[in-house]
Amino acid sequence: MELFKELISKNGLLFAFLLVGLILGASQLLSKHLFKGRIPAAAIAIIGALLLALFGADKGLANIEIFAGLAVLGGSMFRDFTVVATAMGAEIEKIKQAGLAGILSLFMGVTFSFVLGVIIAYAMGYTDVKDLTAIGAGACTYIVGPITGTAIGASSDVIALGITAGVVKTIVTTVLTPLVAKQIKLTTPHAAMVFGGLIGTTSGVTAGLAATDKELVPYGAFTATFYTGLGCLLCPSIFYYLLMQLLG
C-alpha cells in the first residue's frame, strides 16, 4: 500500500488521466444505457465529478493525496491550453459577425451581475457600500470578487461571501447550461459568444458548453476570457463610486 501511494504521488498527473478516463467511460455507459442518450456523457461526467468533489475540501477531490494530480490536469494551465486548441475548429468570420453583440453582452453581463448582486445583498441586510460592492463583484466571477474586495478594503468574511457567490455561479452554469440550451436558443456560435459575454465565468461557460455542444466551446470561451478583466476594471472604480453616491 505504501509503495502504491508513493507510485501514485510520483505520477500524479498520469494517474489523473486514468481517473478521468474512468469517469468518462462510466458516464458514457450511463448516458447510453440509463439515460438512453438523452443526457450527453460529458454532462454526466461533469456533474459526477462535482459530486466526487464533495469527498474533498477546498480543492475538491485533490485534497486527497493520491488524487492530487487532478488539480494539475484541471488547473488553469491545461484548461486554457486546451481551450485555445479548440480555436482550430472556429471560424474567424463568425467571431467577426458576433463582434458587436459580444462586446455588448460583456458590458451588460458585468453590469447586470453587479447590480443584481448588490440588490440581493441589500435585501438580505447588507448596507455598507464596501460590503455591497464586494458581493456585487463576486456575482460577476469568483476572481472579480476578491480583487475588488481587496482593492476597496472590504472585510474578509464579505470577500469570502463574494467568492462563494462566484463559485455558485460557476457550478450552476455548468449544470444548467446543457439543460436549458435549447430554450435559450444557445445553438449557434453567435449565441455562444453572447452567452460567454453574459455569464463570464470561463470555467462555467466552457464546461457548460462542452456538455451542450463541443463545437460552441471556442466561441463562448472567446468572450468569457475578457469578462473577468472588464469586471476588475469596472467594479472597484465606476461601480464602487456610483454606489457610494447612491447610498453614501
Binding site: L70, M88, I92, K169, L186
Partner: protein, 126 residues
C-alpha cells in the same frame, strides 16, 4: 510531424497569455485579461496562413487536434477539484446571488443574440 502542431499551439498560447498580461498591467490588475482570446485569434490566423501556402500537413494538424480533444477530460478534472462545499455551505446570500445572477444571464442570451453585425459574409479574406 505532430510536434510542429503542438509547438505552434504552445507558441500561440504563450504569446496570447503574454498579451493578456500586458493588457492586465495596463489596466492595473494582476493576472491576464483576454489572454486566451488573443491566443485563439493567433491560432486562427496561423491556421489560415498555413492553409493558404499549403504548409499544413495532416500530421501537424493532428498535434493540435489531440489537445483540443483533451478539452472535456480537462474540464472533468477541473469539476472534480472545485470547492463544492463552499458553494453549498456559503449561506443563503451567496447561494441566492449566485443562482439569480446566472439565471438572469441565461434569460438575456436570446435577447442579445438578436444583435447582428448587419454585414453579410465578406469576401472570405481572413
Amino acid at each position: 510531424m505532430k510536434i510542429y502542431g503542438v509547438a505552434l499551439l504552445v507558441f500561440c498560447f504563450l504569446i496570447g497569455k503574454y498579451l493578456g498580461g500586458l493588457l492586465a498591467e495596463l489596466i492595473g490588475i494582476s493576472g491576464d485579461v483576454g489572454g486566451v482570446g488573443f491566443a485563439m485569434l493567433l491560432l486562427m490566423f496561423a491556421n489560415g496562413f498555413l492553409k493558404r501556402y499549403s504548409w499544413y500537413e495532416v500530421q501537424t494538424k493532428a498535434g493540435v487536434f489531440f489537445w483540443s480533444s483533451m478539452y472535456i477530460p480537462v474540464i472533468v478534472a477541473m469539476a472534480a477539484t472545485r470547492n463544492v462545499h463552499a458553494a453549498i455551505s456559503g449561506g443563503w446570500t451567496a447561494l441566492i446571488v449566485g443562482v439569480a445572477v446566472t439565471i438572469m444571464g441565461f434569460m438575456l442570451v436570446p435577447l442579445l443574440s438578436k444583435i447582428r453585425t448587419t454585414k453579410e459574409e465578406s469576401d472570405g479574406i481572413i
